[in-house]
């Protein structure tokens, strides 16, 4: 039995606002990719392969940022037992799993021509795979546990575990000898690539925020439907 307030589906006006934000996010992503590809010269060692950085690195950052959203809202849920916090955490976890899968796939596509292999059990790759599996575990917990409170508590525990793994993923390239290069950031890449990287990082951030919000709205509507269905059943039972 949930102790949190019943979530109401979001109003049409607010949905329209987020739809406009979504269009903006995707338009910004298209523009960012076009600008980055147009202005960045081929890398001395990698040539045009460097351009994969504009999708791989922002995707990796979102894979680390979204689990931190899961952490914050999981802790908030465990503290307040407010159902909406659990739904935000679950929405962020699904988006995080999507970005984690994308990051791994893009890493493999980049690794093949640069390292000569699709995959190696390097600390960065392995820790990212572990994060992906934890996020998949989070979604599995939500799929198999029926009791609402138990589902929220167990998934919050898995979400916190996933977030603990984030600093390990981030620092893995410094803590262990890895084939993967050190973290890419505007301070570690050549100046010619900084603008492209920054633009695409913001574009991915906007897309991630939009995804979490849309998924949260859907979860609210689903929850309202469950509540209406339970009320109808109670009414039917009392009649």
């Amino acid at each position: 039995m949930s102790t949190g307030a019943i979530a109401e589906p979001i109003s049409a006006t607010r949905t329209r606002g987020w739809t406009i934000f979504g269009w903006f996010a995707f338009a910004f992503l298209i523009a960012s990719q076009a600008i980055a590809i147009a202005i960045s010269p081929p890398d001395r060692d990698m040539g045009d392969l460097q351009k994969i950085m504009y999708v791989h690195v922002p995707s990796a950052w979102m894979t680390m940022l979204a689990p931190l959203t899961v952490l914050v809202f999981s802790l908030k849920y465990l503290w307040s037992r407010r159902e909406q916090d659990d739904l935000v955490a679950a929405s962020a976890a699904e988006v995080a799993a999507t970005f984690a899968g994308l990051t791994l796939a893009l890493g493999m596509i980049w690794a093949r021509p640069t390292w000569g292999i699709w995959w190696t059990w390097d600390a960065r790759l392995t820790s990212m795979l572990v994060l992906f599996l934890i996020l998949a575990g989070y979604l599995a917990v939500r799929a198999v546990v029926d009791d609402r409170d138990q589902r929220a508590q167990w998934s919050a525990a898995v979400g916190i575990l996933g977030a603990i793994n984030v600093p390990i993923v981030y620092m893995s390239v410094r803590w262990w000898r890895t084939l993967h290069q050190i973290q890419s950031s505007p301070s570690t890449v050549a100046p010619a690539y900084v603008i492209g990287l920054r633009l695409n990082a913001f574009a991915f951030l906007f897309v991630m925020i939009y995804f979490i919000r849309r998924r949260y709205d859907a979860a609210l509507t689903l929850r309202a439907a469950e509540h209406a269905s339970e009320s109808a059943a109670l009414k039917g039972g009392a009649a």
């Binding site: 994969i52 596509i109 689903l222």
Partner: protein, 46 residues
């Protein structure tokens, strides 16, 4: 032997498939949720 351009095109294609694929998934979840809400509301008002 695949050229570097092939890998770059593959990376951007995979990115868009993943992002648009997830968007389609969310829209499906939304539609199902709205249908469930309509159904439950109608059942409650009968």
């Amino acid at each position: 032997m695949m050229s570097n351009t092939t890998f770059v095109i593959a990376a951007f294609t995979v990115t868009w498939i993943a992002l648009l694929g997830y968007l389609v998934h969310v829209r499906r979840v939304e539609r199902r949720a709205r249908e469930a809400l309509d159904h439950a509301t109608k059942a409650g008002s009968v």
